[in-house]
């Protein structure tokens, strides 16, 4: 960095401090960015702080969140303006108390490329996601997996369990979107490979290679019951949905109690605490009664056409306590059944001792459900994975 060396040392130190500040605020700053920033410091762009700010901004930001915070951080560091308010507003605790989030992500298995993931899956392995989740989770985590979600109360445990819920959602995705390519038989000829082989037989294409259509990734539509009877479980499902929304290419999420709300765009926010805060605002009235039939009717009428196009899997998290008219839920479930590929109903009560689906709503809905499963612990969520990957 010959040009960078020309800059006064004081300027470089100040810049280094700024880069550290950005990292503390979740910016993704690598060595290359710092080098380039030093290069800018030596360029005409450093003539005034304002110019330097416009030049550093595109270099250091990587997404819209960064873009929104950058100016304030820059002003705080270089112009010593509004320092206190900026750190309060971003709401990030000092680095020392915060677990090294980015580092943890990177060392976990979920950052593997899809190809790696696929390679790691032995074909006969009944439940690879489960195994993997346990591989990078030590024994205490294993205990967490099987605990009923109601009984997890310690803040540190809650945090761990949340991370686990999100990771599960990601692992499922890796399996669901796996694709095949060239194949022994298939619908279309793979001209490129066939031709290559034909060279060996003097131009006669004796061995054909075919291409198999890649299966399209599944669309996932999640409907969560947020009524009072589900209150102990909704935070977990909300986190699971957040993980799924951010991991799946095509996922939609809705929440319902007495009315239905589309929360896909809210959960798409990568910043989970903020997403959950906003979810609280959107789903106002959470914790009251349930009108499952009425909400499903709304879904069928207004959202189904958009949300269910193609192959879609509908996942309903609910205990099935409906306060609507008898027969209405069965009718709406029938309509829903016609439009989607499969319906999965997750009921946290199944995990309870001696549970039988005797609530009227649950009895009405059951004939239309393809898979009825427990969802009272993280383990039970993980157990869904092999079922989800069935084509």
């Amino acid at each position: 960095m010959g040009t960078a060396a020309a800059v006064a040392e004081g300027g470089l130190i100040k810049l280094g401090g700024f880069m550290a500040l950005l990292r503390d605020h979740d910016f993704r700053i690598g060595l290359k960015e710092t080098q380039d920033a030093a290069l800018l410091l030596a360029s005409p762009a450093s003539a005034s702080p304002r110019l330097l700010r416009t030049a550093l901004k595109p270099l250091c930001c990587a997404n819209h969140d960064d873009w929104m915070k950058f100016d304030r951080l820059f002003d705080a560091h270089f112009l010593a303006r509004g320092m206190r308010s900026s750190s309060q507003l971003t709401g990030n605790p000092p680095q020392s108390q915060q677990p090294p989030r980015r580092l943890g992500d990177a060392s976990g298995g979920q950052d593997k490329s899809p190809a790696d993931q696929a390679a790691a899956d032995a074909p006969g392995d009944a439940n690879p996601a489960d195994n993997r989740a346990q591989q990078h989770a030590a024994t205490p985590t294993q205990a967490l997996m099987s605990r009923d979600l109601r009984h997890i109360v310690d803040p540190a445990e809650i945090e761990k369990a949340q991370a686990l819920a999100q990771r599960l959602a990601r692992l499922m995705r890796a399996r669901l979107t796996r694709r095949t390519r060239a194949a022994r038989r298939g619908a279309r000829l793979d001209l490129r490979r066939t031709l290559h082989r034909s060279i060996a037989s003097g131009g006669e294409p004796l061995h054909q290679v075919w291409r198999k259509k890649k299966p399209k990734p599944l669309r996932l539509v999640m409907l969560m019951d947020a009524s009072g009877s589900m209150a102990l479980y909704t935070p977990w499902f909300a986190r699971f949905m957040h993980g799924a929304i951010n991991a799946f290419r095509q996922a939609e999420a809705f929440v319902f109690h007495t009315r239905l709300a589309d929360i896909g765009s809210v959960l798409a926010d990568r910043n989970m605490p903020r997403a959950l805060d906003r979810l609280g605002l959107v789903a106002q009235g959470m914790g009251g009664g349930t009108r499952i039939a009425g909400c499903l009717a709304d879904f069928n009428r207004y959202h189904a056409r958009r949300a269910l196009r193609g192959r879609a899997l509908v996942m309903i998290f609910s205990d099935g306590f409906d306060t609507g008219a008898p027969g209405a839920l069965a009718h709406e479930m029938a309509r829903l059944r016609q439009r989607c590929r499969r319906i999965l109903w997750l009921n946290p009560l199944i995990g309870w001792k001696d549970y039988a689906p005797e609530a009227r709503g649950m009895r009405e809905a059951l004939p239309y459900v393809d898979h009825f499963a427990a969802a009272h612990s993280l383990e039970s969520l993980a157990a869904l994975e092999p079922w989800l990957t069935q084509q």
Binding site: R28, G30, K32, E33, D36, L39, L40, S43, P44, A45, L51, T54, A55, K57, P58, L59, C61, A62, N63, H64, D66, W67, S113, P114, A115, L191, R192, L195, H196, S198, I199, A200, G202, G203, K214, N246, R249, R270
Partner: protein, 293 residues
């Protein structure tokens, strides 16, 4: 190398009214030699930036539209199989297998797709990779490789290095988050909807027949309309359509004719909910505010 001021001036010269920060980013692209990732809502003019950049440097624009299932063969290169088969038949019996292979896998049988064309061009081009968030993640990883070393290895032919460095612009609608690795390699710019004065200037530049008064009013209405609760906020292209239809109806002063403004709303609002939300009353209220100004 162009300075920022000349870039801003030249952008206006080619009909693109940029905000000052964008000129700085375009300068930075050249200075650091990095690709640019543009994000922003649909209709803020992301694609236009690439077009303007090409016009600015007077070079060719190569566009790669991404979609789900886009693969190397469609983006990078493909062998011309028909021609190869034909050649094999023609040369049958006349040459040995090895020389035949070397022959049919030569550059003459290679179809260049946008990415290969961009790096094999003798003069630097502007490469627009549009809506990268629609492509598969595998494609993103592959793109990363290309962006880092600017060379392509074709198994039958060897490694082809870049003849010139293309200026690369990637756009994303933010529907799917793209990987950190790709983001880190790029400069980032978030395009906002233009403010009132910039939108007025855009209208005046793109529609020479519009009066300054109408342009200002249209920009103002759009600014307040975008603050309404809409599922799909109207973009710059919609503004231009709407202004064109207003000119067609010979509207001079929007404040005096809210009905005409309402009649052309089909050019602005493109979902059923939005049409239902913005009634004649709302338009009257918005145009009423104009008179007060």
């Amino acid at each position: 190398m162009l300075t920022r001021e000349t870039i801003a001036g030249k952008l206006a010269g080619v009909g693109y009214i940029a905000d000052p920060d964008l000129a700085a980013v375009l300068w930075l692209m050249d200075y650091l030699g990095r690709p640019l990732l543009l994000e922003g809502e649909a209709g803020v003019g992301k694609t236009e930036v690439a077009k303007a950049l090409a016009a600015l440097h007077g070079c060719e624009l190569i566009r790669l539209q991404c979609y789900e299932g886009l693969d190397q063969n469609a983006a990078l290169y493909e062998w011309n199989y028909q021609k190869q088969l034909l050649a094999i038949r023609l040369l049958e019996g006349t040459s040995a297998a090895e020389s035949l292979e070397a022959h049919v896998f030569s550059a003459a049988y290679l179809l260049e797709r946008p990415l290969l064309r961009a790096i094999r061009s003798a003069r630097p081009v502007v490469l627009l990779i549009d809506e990268i968030d629609r492509a598969d993640e595998e494609f993103e990883a592959f793109l990363l490789e290309l962006l880092s070393d600017f060379q392509v290895t074709i198994p039958e032919l060897g490694t082809l290095t870049a003849l010139s460095m293309p200026r690369i612009v990637l756009t994303s609608n933010g529907t799917r988050d793209i990987s950190d690795a790709l983001r880190r390699r790029c400069l980032y710019h978030y395009l906002e909807f233009p403010d009132i004065s910039r939108e007025t200037r855009i209208l005046l530049t793109k529609l020479p027949q519009i009066s300054a008064q109408l342009a200002g009013q249209v920009a103002e209405i759009l600014a307040s309309l975008r603050k309404e609760d809409l599922t799909k906020r109207p973009g710059v292209a919609e503004t231009l359509d709407w202004a064109t239809s207003l000119i067609g109806l010979k509207v001079e002063d929007l404040g005096a004719s809210p009905e005409a403004a309402y009649a052309c709303l089909a050019a602005l609002l493109k979902t059923k909910d939005d049409r239902a939300n913005i009634s004649l009353d709302v338009i009257t209220r918005l145009t009423g505010k104009l008179e007060a100004v």
